[in-house]
Symmetry: C2
DNA sequence: GCCACTACTTACATCAGTGTCAATAAGGAT
DNA sequence: ATCCTTATTGACACTGATGTAAGTAGTGGC
């Protein structure tokens, strides 16, 4: 019984979630098994069961972790783009990258795989929190109503999600550049900004 | 050894694909197993292996079947809406319904699940064929360039896909009506039509 | 009617993911 | 140093999905 090291529950959970996220992005939802995740952090699958209770417990924690990570990325970037006179394109790229590379698209696949409605909650909550931080500020500047911000966010997120899943293949098939969906989203946002600030 | 009936290979394959599609839409990609599909059509899983060679063979056939069914639905409806003076909204609803109810969203989940790039091909091809039928006609009427039709299609499809996966939960979370994404897509298409036919 | 073909089945083998349990040992508290 | 908590492990059982092999029985052609 070779016990390598004794980590705190927080350390173990954190390492496991990081490994699970990497696995999810690299190889898809199916590859996120107790055995695979445990192997990545040099533990046994029984150890993960000890920390997360069950496989679905790990899945739920992973969903929360992913949603938080993705939204934090976007949130930070939105703040930065504000300071540096952000363009619509920057926001678009951030949202699309979040779904394409940060694992939000993979999370969607996860939900589809399990058919588990609960897995949807954390990411929706995270997006909701993100919008709640942005919308009131925009509204206070008199640029957009909160509902308008919500609508734009919905469209942008759904488009980014779709693009992460089928964008590459479909664009190629239609002889469009890979960035076609992003270009379109950028035009949409730009048009909304114009409409929102007619005096500019 | 109770043999119930003896079907032709075509009948067997057709029945199996129909059952698999129903299972996929009802319960998600994970539930489409040899046993479950076979049970639905009153056969054994070994029988499906006989007809499709392997589980992945069934999956590939299912992907092709789904892509064909969905695109045929849309194509028929587009033709009908042309005859009956189709509105942008009708086209939007058709595309969204195809992904939401006809199983195209489930198909996307399927691709994500398997991580199989091949599974993507049939639906992309089907969409490509659909656009190839529509775009030249539009172009010949002098309304849009083919590329413009391709761009609109890309945006519409990606948005419909995203909406099928997260639309319901996200709209609810943002206090928007379930139809918010469709409404947005409709506005987009309407704006394009205006722009495309300035003399109207 | 007889035969070849094959759709179909039953039984078994295999494998992967999940979960249980008892045993071990690391690390802190006293 | 001793004890107590618990992180960790190895071994095992269970389940479900996939695949194989051999045998059975419809169906069409002669």
């Amino acid at each position: 019984m070779t016990i390598r090291k004794r980590l705190s529950p927080e350390e173990s959970r954190s390492a496991a979630l990081q490994a699970a996220r990497a696995l999810l992005i690299e190889s898809g939802p199916q590859s996120v098994t107790l055995k695979a995740v445990a192997g990545r952090i040099g533990r046994t699958h029984a150890n993960l069961l000890h920390h997360f209770g069950s496989a679905s417990g790990l899945q739920k924690s992973l969903a929360e972790h992913l949603a938080w990570t993705v939204c934090e990325t976007i949130k930070d970037a939105v703040r930065a783009s504000r300071v540096g006179l952000g363009t619509p394109r920057e926001v678009v790229d951030l949202a699309f990258d979040a779904f394409d590379k940060e694992g939000a698209g993979a999370l969607a696949g996860w939900m589809l795989l399990t058919g588990n409605e609960d897995a949807l909650d954390p990411i929706v909550e995270a997006i909701h929190a993100l919008v709640d931080e942005i919308a009131p500020e925009e509204a206070s500047h008199g640029r957009f109503s909160e509902m308008r911000v919500h609508e734009e966010t919905l469209t942008l997120v759904l488009l980014a999600l779709g693009d992460a899943l089928m964008g590459a293949a479909l664009a190629k098939s239609l002889n469009l550049p890979r960035s076609a969906a992003r270009d379109r989203a950028e035009r949409m946002l730009t048009a909304s900004v114009k409409e929102g600030i007619p005096s500019e």
